[in-house]
């Protein structure tokens, strides 16, 4: 029977999540119907910056079906704001990085002023969402508009209006870090090149908007909150804190969640407000964020401008990077300086660069708060760095691929000490990988560099413009602080696993079942996995930052190991054998080499039970269950090389991507097919950010992309043929050799496209140093007349 | 199921006559609704007669009392004059169900439910109560003992129901009483019930008597021999012995968990004596 149980890690086993989703039996927050449920609609500011003079709720309260209407004044002093310092930074990081962090608190509903268009100023609870929205229209709010702080430049200008008077500045954080001697290196560098790179504002935009349902059971004093969240324990903590309840009496559950990608990765005011309303009204309360609200209120991301100088020698060896960049954090900074910290840490990428000088300012503006989205500071830094590398190549007349290969850290240099500190406070060490191999593989997949250059020349002769773009990056994954897991062996012998990780489509239930099945040597169907339910595991962190496969597997192993000690002790007792003659096999434990000497977990569980008829050896405690919290030593480093070939239509400037390739290393792949799906999904989001998606504000601080008619998500037709190649260099940092891969795909495409377009426009010496790549800008390089291509300007 | 609550007798009669399916009259509902809940009845039409005034009055028509069939037990208990006039009838009414049940239950319903053990029936029989019945063919008057014909069965025709009861004007020195025997003091069904109604002359001799037994036969019985045993006596021990013998002799009870035939027969005699004693006291006072 041993061969009847395969090893599951590395197998593309089918997703156990699929069936109910395909049958329309998914259980998303919006699908919940509880008896007596009330519905919330929220009144949101139309001013980017304004003082509240008065809010009259009388008419709303009198409206049909209205149970309650409240404004910020009604909860001021009742419900605390979300603390700006809810995300702590480790001492080790603050020791090594100069930080000046002052994150403002975020009121659940402000009582004094509005800080962005879309911020709540009142809410209505009614018998239906329709009636609630009717009543919201009856709220009479009187605002005193203040000058909008419409962007970082305005925010940092002298005498700028202050968003948060308590801070005395429009800055949430300033970070400064150095490696080597940047100033000296610049002075002595044979070549210097200076540019401003801008990565525009866009967002995760999951197909399911956010939503919260809460139900307070007064009899049991248990408040259950169902939230479309990636971090149920975080939400539980904030709700318990705000309502002054023990965390154990707040249960937060993320049922099926329709995508997250970071935007659902922190606690929002609505999570707490809906919980509060359910407790206050004694009836279930539901708030479902509609798409307009999502665009106006859910966190935006990216939006970083880099002043970037790079010094290099005649061979294209990069000697120094000196950058000063500003993050537009919007009105608040829900996840602190996390994005900025990532940009700082990932700037140097896969390259061996001796000197680095970096200062980052997180500016507060009258825009939607900026929070991590798939990549979280990496796509921005990678855009700047990878554009700069291409410019270095141009300056020296070298091929961009060649310059990359010359600067990349060779595999023999692994593990490589970067000389910087990660945000977990640990000095950065790239743990494993072969960066040049990944780049070469990408070029090979596209037919080889030389072959392409020949093709490109040929095409140009025919008046066709094709280009090849590259983008290489490294990504710290599996970050701490920890993840929790609970493992139990059920009397039936089944393995019950629960973790603090929350799934939004990654297939956690399948992946963790694969890993637990291998840990226990059982058929995968004997493993039951629960994710996203705080009642199942006391402490958890959640699914953000490409961390769950790494951290949750560590916790599941920790708990399993502890139980297995007992299993061996009891097995030895039952089989009358020495523990070190035993092995886990065939859904139980047996004596090595003696097939008939075997006990199933069901039998072990029976022997382990409390009570007088147990069969435990002396001193072995009853029960087969354990909770473990895995605290990773530090991050493990995934990386990739992305490459694309594009063709440009000179008449329209339209960019057509012929092929997109990504060679990715996430260490050991637990489920290759699902890993492939994660990377491809990320790549298409990266394409969206590079070409279509944009959250645009006008000069008055108004969002001009408030619908999916203007915020353009990529569709099936916009996706080119994509190839993902996996390099599986195991991480030495964890038992399974795994690295994270949730975010990776989204990091490279914007710069890959920009570089490819610039490569195609080489005859014009074109530079595109901002995202998104706009067809109009591309077309402009060909001159004003669509039919007469003007002489290439001397580059 | 359709629910109607007519405010006139004609309307009620019309509704009942007009219903092709099964129709039930709803008075207090303490039996009908239980039958519906327990699927022993599944009427197509329910006619609630409580909104008809004539069924809700209690009136003293110079000594002869008349009360509506839908008057609740509680309403009768609240009527002091009637309690003084017919204490024995009220003995029976007070034993119907619980406070909650008496808040709804009616003597009319108690009678027409046709349970052999209904507590208000023997004293009404002993009191020579006459029921006014109405139906498609108009009104008719029926002695109470002729309404019930057997367990769950009555002599009422289709569309007929009881409107009210009349109790005859009583001569002086009359008294009545009802006793039942149950394992529990309250909320129980009589194993045996006995009502005695008698009248004395100034000398204390019994000039008239009427005895009724419940729960010892398919329906409440009038026991003439028992009455004869009292008439002409001073209701002394000998009369009491004869009374008991006659009462027991009249029994043809069933055997069930509440009591055997022998036991019920025995108890009937004992209860008859005790009820007669109370009635005697009341007649003298």
């Amino acid at each position: 029977m041993a061969e009847s149980i395969p090893g599951y890690i590395g197998q593309s086993v089918p997703r156990r999540e699929d069936r109910h989703l395909l049958l329309g039996e998914g259980a998303f927050v919006a699908d919940m119907q509880l008896p007596g449920m009330l519905h919330v609609a929220i009144a949101r500011s139309q001013f980017p910056h304004a003082t509240i003079k008065g809010i009259d709720l009388a008419a709303a309260r009198a409206a049909e079906g209205v149970e309650l209407a409240i404004s910020g004044a009604d909860i001021h002093g009742v419900l605390p704001p979300i603390s700006g310092m809810q995300v702590t930074t480790p001492q080790g990081w603050r020791d090594r990085v100069d930080t000046d962090i002052l994150i403002p608190d975020q009121p659940l509903i402000p009582h004094d002023k509005m800080r962005f268009v879309g911020e709540p100023y009142a809410l209505v609870v009614a018998e239906s969402r329709y009636l609630a929205e009717d009543a919201v229209e009856l709220i009479e709010a009187d605002f005193d508009p203040l000058p909008p702080v419409a962007g970082p430049d305005a925010a940092l200008a002298d005498g700028a209006a202050l968003l948060h008077d308590v801070l005395g500045r429009n800055i949430a954080a300033i970070l400064h870090t150095t490696k080597g001697d940047g100033a000296k290196a610049l002075d002595t560098a044979p070549h210097r090149l200076k540019r401003r790179f801008n990565h525009h504002r866009y967002a995760a935009m999951p197909m399911e908007c956010r939503g919260v349902v809460a139900d307070y059971d007064a009899r049991r004093d248990i408040l259950t909150v169902w939230s479309s969240s990636q971090v149920v324990h975080w939400v539980r903590r904030e709700v318990a804190n705000a309502l002054d309840m023990p965390e154990e009496r707040v249960i937060c559950i993320a049922p099926d969640v329709g995508g997250g990608f970071g935007v659902k990765g922190h606690c929002y005011p609505e999570d707490i407000l809906v919980a509060y309303l359910a407790k206050r009204l004694g009836r279930p309360v539901k708030w479902i964020e509609d798409r307009h609200e999502h665009l106006l209120n859910a966190a935006h991301s990216r939006d970083i401008a880099f002043d970037f100088e790079i010094g290099f020698d005649d061979d294209g060896r990069i000697l120094v990077v000196d950058t000063d960049f500003v993050v537009d954090s919007g009105a608040y900074s829900p996840v602190g300086a996390g994005i900025a910290g990532n940009s700082v840490a990932h700037m140097l990428g896969p390259y061996d660069i001796p000197n680095y000088e970096c200062t980052c300012t997180v500016a507060l503006t009258n825009r939607v708060p900026n929070a991590p989205y798939r990549g979280a500071g990496r796509p921005e830094a990678v855009f700047a760095m990878e554009r700069a590398v291409d410019l270095v190549a141009n300056a020296l007349g070298l091929d961009p691929a060649e310059v990359r290969l010359r600067n990349m850290i060779p595999p023999e240099a692994m593990p490589y000490e970067v000389g910087l500190t990660y945000r977990d406070g640990v000095p950065m060490v790239y743990d494993s990988g072969d960066y040049p191999k990944a780049l070469r593989a990408a070029l090979e997949e596209l037919g080889g560099l030389e072959a392409f250059r020949a093709r490109q020349k040929q095409a140009l002769a025919e008046g066709r413009y094709i280009g090849l773009g590259l983008g290489c990056y490294v990504e710290g994954t599996g970050v701490g602080p920890f993840e929790g897991a609970s493992v139990k062996i059920d009397p039936s012998g089944k393995i019950m696993v629960a973790t603090g990780a929350c799934a939004q489509g990654q297939g956690h239930e399948t992946v963790f079942a694969q890993m637990a099945a291998d840990m226990w040597k059982v058929p995968i169907d004997d493993v039951y996995v629960t994710v996203g339910d705080t009642s199942q595991v006391t402490q958890g962190y959640g699914t953000i930052a490409s961390r769950s496969t790494v951290t949750a597997s560590g916790a599941i192993k920790g708990a399993s190991d502890r139980i297995q000690e007992k299993v061996f002790a009891i097995g030895a007792e039952l089989l009358e054998a020495a523990e070190n003659d035993l092995e886990l096999r065939d859904g139980g434990i047996g004596v090595r080499g003696v097939p008939e000497l075997h006990r199933t977990y069901r039998e072990i569980a029976k022997a382990a039970k409390p009570g007088w008829d147990h069969q435990r050896p002396e001193g072995t405690e009853a029960g087969l269950e354990a909770v473990s919290y895995y605290e990773p030593p530090t991050v493990t480093w995934a990386y990739a090389s992305g490459a694309a070939i594009v063709e440009i239509d000179p008449e329209t400037g339209r960019v057509t991507i012929e092929r997109l390739v990504e060679v990715h290393d996430a260490g050991v792949l637990v489920n290759p097919a699902m890993a492939d799906g994660q990377v491809k999904g990320g790549l298409v989001q990266g394409l969206g950010g590079g070409l279509f998606e944009e959250l645009a504000y006008d000069d008055f601080g108004q969002l001009t992309t408030g619908s999916l008619m203007d915020y353009l998500l990529p569709t099936a037709s916009d996706v080119p043929p994509i190839t993902v190649l996996h390099q599986e260099v195991p991480s030495p940092l964890n038992a399974f050799g795994v690295k994270g891969l949730g975010e990776g795909g989204a990091i490279a495409p914007p710069v890959v496209i920009a570089n490819a377009v610039c490569d195609a426009l080489r005859p014009f010496g074109a530079e595109l140093n901002s995202t998104p790549v706009r067809w109009g800008d591309v077309a402009a390089f060909f001159g004003d007349d669509p039919f007469e291509i003007s002489e290439p300007s001397p580059a | 199921m359709r629910y109607e609550a007519p405010e006139t007798l004609d309307a009620a009669v019309g509704l009942l006559a007009g219903e092709s399916g099964q129709a039930r009259v709803l008075a207090g509902g303490t039996d009908v609704l239980v039958q519906i809940h327990t699927d022993r009845a599944d009427p197509d039409l329910i006619v609630d007669i409580k909104k008809i005034t004539e069924l809700r009055d209690i009136a003293d028509e110079d000594g002869a009392w008349r009360f509506g069939a839908a008057v609740t037990g509680k309403e009768m208990m609240d009527n002091a004059a009637f309690n003084a006039a017919w204490p024995g009838v009220m003995d029976g009414v007070r034993l119907i169900g619980s406070v909650q049940v008496r808040g709804r239950a009616t003597v009319g319903g108690n009678l027409c439910n046709a349970s052999p053990a209904a507590d208000s029936v023997p004293p009404m029989i002993a009191a020579r109560a006459i029921a006014t019945v109405i139906g498609p063919d108009g009104r008719r008057e029926v002695p109470v003992e002729d309404i019930v014909t057997g367990p769950g069965k009555t002599s009422l025709g289709k569309g007929e129901f009881v409107v009210s009861f009349q109790l005859p004007k009583r001569p002086p020195n009359s008294g009545d009483a009802y006793l039942r025997f149950t394992p529990r003091t309250e909320m129980d069904i009589a194993v045996v019930g006995c009502a005695v109604n008698l009248t004395l002359d100034d000398a204390g001799t019994c000039t008239d008597a009427r005895v009724a037994l419940g729960a010892v036969a398919a329906r409440a019985l009038v026991v003439d021999d028992a009455a004869k045993a009292l008439i002409g006596t001073k209701v002394d021990d000998a009369a009491m012995e004869a009374l008991a013998a006659a009462a027991s002799a009249a029994c043809s009870p069933i055997d069930d968990k509440r009591g055997t035939i022998e036991y019920r027969t025995e108890v009937a005699g004992v209860l008859a004596q005790r009820a007669a004693a109370i009635a005697l006291e009341r007649a003298k006072s």
Binding site: - | G29, L33, I46, V101, G103, T185
Partner: protein, 158 residues
């Protein structure tokens, strides 16, 4: 089948609802009005757990049709306390530990309240007879009787 429009008053609040003729007042309270304080114990009027006061008369709500409540007023356990202030009977039930599992408690409280309104100074046996329509399986009644007597005394003001 056609639902009937019912207008009634529950604990002083006007209530309008559509009611199926087969629904008992108990069903209406629990299922339509979501007032689950009134309990169902037998459905045949034997246990009193569903006791409510209908136009000042103590009844079993399982023996009253919802449609019969039309135009009447209903008092239930939910109307007994004044906000946070418990009714003396409720306080005394707590003081005397007159409840254990609590499912019979709403009916007993409603029945006791009806008793004290009719008879402010009942004897023990009057209380016992009055409450005979309310079954309790946990307490053995003793503490309930004490609680009612104690509450009666307090309500009489001594």
């Amino acid at each position: 089948m056609a639902k009937q429009h019912v207008t009634t008053t529950v604990n002083g609040d006007a209530v309008e609802l559509l009611c199926d003729p087969t629904q008992t007042l108990l069903d209406v309270l629990r299922d339509e009005l979501d007032m689950k304080g009134t309990k169902e114990g037998c459905g045949t009027g034997d246990c009193g757990a569903c006791s409510v006061v209908l136009d000042d008369v103590l009844v079993c709500s399982c023996l009253v049709l919802g449609v019969e409540a039309n135009g009447k007023s209903v008092e239930t356990i939910e109307g007994m306390a004044e906000g946070e202030d418990l009714h003396p009977l409720q306080r005394k039930f707590i003081d005397h530990i007159a409840l254990q599992c609590g499912i019979c408690t709403p009916g007993l409280l409603i029945a006791s309240k009806a008793l004290l309104e009719e008879n402010p100074d009942p004897t023990e046996s009057e209380i016992r007879y009055w409450l005979a329509g309310n079954l309790c399986r946990c307490t053995g009644y003793h503490k309930i009787i004490e609680a009612v007597q104690d509450a009666a005394a307090e309500m009489r003001g001594n």
